[in-house]
Symmetry: C2
Subunit: 139 residues, 2 copies
Amino acid sequence: MSQRRLSPLTVSECFALLNDDEVGRLIFVDDVGPAALPVNYAVDGESIVFRIEHSSKQFALRAGLAFEVDRINRSLHSGWSVLVRGTAQELTMDEAAALVHRVKSAFPRPWAEGVHNVWMKLTPTEVTGRRLEVPANDG
Amino acid sequence: MSQRRLSPLTVSECFALLNDDEVGRLIFVDDVGPAALPVNYAVDGESIVFRIEHSSKQFALRAGLAFEVDRINRSLHSGWSVLVRGTAQELTMDEAAALVHRVKSAFPRPWAEGVHNVWMKLTPTEVTGRRLEVPANDG
């Protein structure tokens, strides 16, 4: 297979892809170094909303957090990825309740069991993405 | 759908999953903060080998690097993820040539165009993983 061209996505293309998915990876730095964990999320306006366990809160609240969503097509060697960078804050219970009311369909309900009782909002300072495009002349 | 139990994976289960895939996410810290980018990779013994562009080298060589691989089943709300943490070093041309000779089938050929002429090896200090299991009584 020939190699694919890597094309940047516009911010609105990134948000269209973010709106269309529900699992991404929280990229954070803990006491060991950088790390990533899959989490369920929802998009609320231009923010990424997710729920985590209390034990992860201290790392998610550090200055500098990122969120990555991608789809990889292993047979076509194509795909896209979106990286949202910014800083997170904890939502109050009132803010979380208002969010659930506002975007019921996008309610980020964790698939995993456990007490994910901390609601976080990542406000982006930078949203970038790229797509690996299959050339027109490639099978 | 009921919620899934999150079970830890053993290190050998993690390596079996790593060996069975070819795209993961490099988790690094650049001058803005933590970030993630999909890359092609190969497993060489207990190391993760990947190729990057020269411009990314300075960030990949920083102390503390991680590599994440996962598979998410959105319809079943199940999946697994593996996180490899450690420090990377650049391979010499001789080391890269020996690697290509040794693990030809696992040669990490980037899908994307561009000059990915820096060969890196991530030596793990920690390999963890978890699986979201569908309960037996769930459809």
